[in-house]
C-alpha cells in the first residue's frame, strides 16, 4: 500500500494553497511543485490501479462515517483507469508548460499553475467520489478553475469566452443541484450505491425528471450537443496547454459522470437510446462545424466535441463490446487530442487569431512538430497502424454485433469529414511554400515541450503497434462499469476498506 485514494484529491488542493506562499520565498518553486505533485499523483494512481486489478476495489471511507451515511471514494478498475490517464495527462500538460511565462510574468504563471492544480484535483474528484453531492462540489471546482483559465489572457476576447462558459456552467450546475434535491427527497440518500440499490422504489415520473436534470447538469462538462456552445470559444481563447487539459482531463471526467449516472444510478438496461441520440447529434453537428472552421484551435475543439459524441454513442449501445470501444476511444482521445493541441499550439505560437492559413508551409521550418501533428491527425482519424484505428475498429465491430447499421454508416461518413478537415491542415503544412506575408514567424519549441510531445507520440505508436498492451486494462474497466450489482455490494458491504 503506497497511499490512499484521498491523497489524489488532497495533495493537489494543498499544493494549490501552498504555491502562492512558497512562491514568495522562491519563485521557481511555483513551477517545480506542480510537477512534483503531478508526478507523485501519477505514480500513486498507477500503483493503486495495479493493486486494485490484482486484489479488489478499494472503498475508502472519509471521516469514519460508513456508507451510506458518509462520503466514500471508490477506486475500482474503471475509476483507477480514468484517474491514471487524467493524472498522467496532467503531468504531460505540466511538462509542456513548465517554461510558461518564465522570466516574463511571475503573477500570471503563478495563477496558471494554481488553477491547473485545482483542475486536476476537481477532475480526479469527479471520477473517484461515490457521493452525488460531492460530485456536484467537484464539478463546481472544475468549473470555477476552468472559467479562470479560460479568462487567462487579458486583451484578447478570453473574458467573453469565459463569461459564456460561466453562464452555461452555473445554469447547468443549478440543474444538477435540482436533480440531487429530487433524488434526496425521494430516496433520502446521496450515496451512489445506495441510490442505485433503491432506484426502483422511486416514482417513475420523478425518476425521469431527475434524469433529465442530471443530463443537463453534467452535459456541459461532457460537451454534449446543445450545451457545448462554450467549448470552441474556451478552447480557442485559453492558453495552449489549457486546451490540452480541457480535452484530456475535464471532458473525460464529464463523460465519466454522465456514464456512471446512466449505468449505475439509473441502471437502464440494454441499449440506451437517449445516449445514442445525444451522441449522434453531437457528433454530426460538431464534425460538420469543424469542416468550415478557419481557426486551428476552433477546428480541434469541434473535433474534440465530435469525439465525445462518438464515445457517448459507443456507451449508448449498452453492450460489453460497446463499453469497451467507448473506453478505448476515451483513452485514445485523452492522449491524441492534447498532442494535437500542444503541437498546434507550437505551430501557431503567440498569435491571437490562430488561423489555419498562418501555418502555411511551416513543415519546412518546424519539421518535428509538424510530423507529430500529422501523427496525431492520422491517429484521431483512425488510420492504421496508429492507436485510433483500433478504437474505431472496436467501435464498428461493437455496432456490427448489435446490427446498428445506421450508426456504422454515419460513423464512416463522419470519418470522411474528419479526414477532409485534418488533411486540409496537413496540406497547408507540408505542400505549400512558406510565405512571410501569411505565415507567422516560426518559434523554436522548448526542450520540455518537445519531451512531452515525444512521450505522447511514443504512446500513440505503442498502442498502434501493440494494442494488446492496453486492451486488458480496458476490458477490466468495462467489466467494472457493466456490473452494477458488484458496485453496490462493494460499496455498501465494503470489500477492502481504509478507515481514515
Amino acid at each position: 500500500m503506497v497511499g490512499s485514494p484521498v491523497l489524489l484529491i488532497a495533495i493537489p488542493l494543498l499544493a494549490a494553497f501552498l504555491i502562492p506562499l512558497l512562491g514568495m520565498v522562491w519563485k521557481e518553486s511555483v513551477r517545480i511543485i506542480p510537477g512534483l505533485v503531478l508526478a507523485y499523483l501519477t505514480f500513486l494512481s498507477a500503483s493503486l490501479y495495479i493493486e486494485v486489478i490484482n486484489t479488489d476495489t478499494i472503498v475508502e471511507i472519509i471521516a469514519g462515517w460508513r456508507p451510506p451515511w458518509g462520503i466514500n471514494l471508490v477506486f475500482s478498475p474503471l475509476t483507477g483507469f480514468l484517474t491514471t490517464i487524467m493524472t498522467f495527462m496532467g503531468f504531460i500538460v505540466w511538462l509542456y508548460s513548465y517554461r510558461f511565462k518564465r522570466n516574463v510574468e511571475f503573477e500570471a504563471a503563478k495563477k496558471y499553475f494554481i488553477f491547473l492544480m485545482l483542475l486536476v484535483a476537481g477532475s480526479v474528484g469527479i471520477v473517484i467520489t461515490g457521493d452525488i453531492f460531492n460530485q456536484f462540489v467537484f464539478i463546481e471546482i472544475v468549473g470555477i478553475s476552468a472559467y479562470a483559465l479560460t479568462a487567462f489572457y487579458t486583451g484578447r476576447d478570453s473574458a467573453e469566452a469565459a463569461f459564456k462558459y460561466l453562464i452555461m456552467g452555473s445554469l447547468s450546475a443549478s440543474a444538477l443541484l435540482i436533480a440531487i434535491i429530487i433524488i434526496y427527497s425521494q430516496l433520502g440518500t446521496l450515496n451512489m450505491a445506495q441510490i442505485a440499490a433503491n432506484i426502483d422504489n422511486m416514482n417513475p415520473y420523478y425518476r425521469i425528471i431527475a434524469m433529465i436534470f442530471f443530463i443537463i447538469g453534467i452535459g456541459v462538462e461532457a460537451e454534449i450537443f446543445p450545451l457545448n456552445g462554450w467549448a470552441p470559444d474556451a478552447y480557442t481563447e485559453a492558453p495552449g496547454p489549457v486546451g490540452g487539459a480541457f480535452s484530456g482531463i475535464v471532458a473525460k471526467a464529464g463523460i465519466y459522470a454522465m456514464v456512471r449516472m446512466m449505468f449505475t444510478l439509473f441502471d437502464i438496461e440494454g441499449p440506451m437510446k437517449i445516449l445514442i441520440v445525444i451522441g449522434l447529434i453531437t457528433l454530426i453537428v460538431a464534425e460538420t462545424s469543424a469542416l468550415r472552421q478557419e481557426k486551428l484551435k476552433r477546428m480541434l475543439a469541434y473535433s474534440s466535441i465530435g469525439q465525445m459524441g462518438l464515445v457517448l454513442v459507443a456507451f449508448g449501445m449498452g453492450t460489453k463490446a460497446g463499453v469497451f470501444a467507448a473506453l478505448f476511444l476515451m483513452l485514445n482521445h485523452a492522449i491524441t487530442k492534447p498532442m494535437l493541441f500542444l503541437s498546434g499550439s507550437f505551430l501557431t505560437f503567440n498569435t491571437t487569431e490562430k488561423y489555419i492559413k498562418q501555418i502555411t508551409g511551416m513543415a519546412k521550418k518546424m519539421p518535428v512538430v509538424s510530423i507529430i501533428f500529422v501523427l496525431g491527425a492520422l491517429a484521431i482519424t483512425g488510420f492504421p497502424p496508429f492507436s485510433g484505428f483500433w478504437s474505431k475498429m472496436a467501435f464498428l465491430s461493437a455496432a456490427a454485433d448489435e446490427n446498428l447499421l445506421f450508426i456504422m454508416a454515419t460513423i464512416l461518413i463522419i470519418s470522411i469529414f474528419e479526414v477532409v478537415y485534418y488533411f486540409r491542415v496537413i496540406n497547408r503544412l507540408f505542400f505549400f511554400e512558406y510565405d512571410d506575408k501569411i505565415s507567422i514567424e516560426p518559434h523554436k519549441p522548448g526542450f520540455n515541450g518537445m519531451i512531452a510531445l515525444f512521450v505522447l507520440a511514443f504512446i500513440v505508436l505503442m498502442i498502434g503497434f501493440y494494442p494488446s498492451s492496453v486492451t486488458g486494462f480496458i476490458d477490466l474497466a468495462a467489466d467494472d462499469l457493466m456490473n452494477t450489482h458488484q458496485y453496490i455490494d462493494k460499496v455498501l458491504q465494503l470489500g477492502q476498506t481504509i478507515i481514515q
Binding site: G155, F163, K164, A173, S174, I181
Partner: protein
C-alpha cells in the same frame, strides 16, 4: 398525504380537500411554489436581460430558489434543531433533517464563489469593451 387520498376517495370537493390538508402540507406547497417561482424568475432574467449585471443577478436568484427548495425538503412541523443535548433525547422524531442544511451551506458558498468570478469577469469585459450590454460584446459568436 394520507388524508388527501382518503378525502379524494370520498368524492368530496376541492374546498374540503383544501381544508382537510395539514398545515405542514400547505407550508410545504408554499415553499416549493415560491422556490420554483424564484427559479423561473431567475431563468427569465438570465435568458432575456441584455445587461451582464442583470444576468448575474438572475443567476443569484436561481441559486436562492434552489437553496429554498433544498431547505424545504427537510421541513418538519414544529421541528427542532438537529442537535443532541441533555434533556432532548426524545426529540429525535421532531428534529429536522440535517443533511439538506449541510448541503445548503455548501451550495451557498459555491454560489458565492461563482458570483465573485462572474463579477470579476464583468469588470474585465467592461475594461475591454467599455460597455455592459451583451449585444455589443460579440467578437465571438454567441
Amino acid at each position: 398525504m394520507q388524508e388527501c387520498t382518503a378525502v379524494r376517495s370520498c368524492n368530496l370537493g376541492i374546498k374540503t380537500l383544501y381544508f382537510s390538508m395539514d398545515t405542514t402540507e400547505l407550508i410545504r406547497i408554499g415553499v416549493y411554489g415560491t422556490s420554483i417561482l424564484l427559479i423561473l424568475i431567475g431563468l427569465y432574467a438570465v435568458l432575456t436581460k441584455r445587461s451582464l449585471i442583470k444576468i448575474i443577478i438572475g443567476l443569484s436568484i436561481i441559486d436562492g430558489g434552489i437553496h429554498l427548495l433544498l431547505i424545504g425538503i427537510g421541513y418538519i412541523k414544529n421541528g427542532t434543531a438537529p442537535i443532541f443535548s441533555p434533556g432532548s433525547e426524545n426529540a429525535v422524531a421532531r428534529m429536522v433533517d440535517p443533511v439538506p442544511q449541510a448541503l445548503v451551506l455548501t451550495a451557498i458558498v459555491i454560489g458565492f464563489g461563482v458570483t465573485a468570478v462572474a463579477l470579476s469577469l464583468v469588470i474585465r469585459l467592461y475594461r475591454h469593451h467599455n460597455t455592459l450590454k451583451i449585444d455589443e460584446i460579440k467578437n465571438l459568436k454567441w
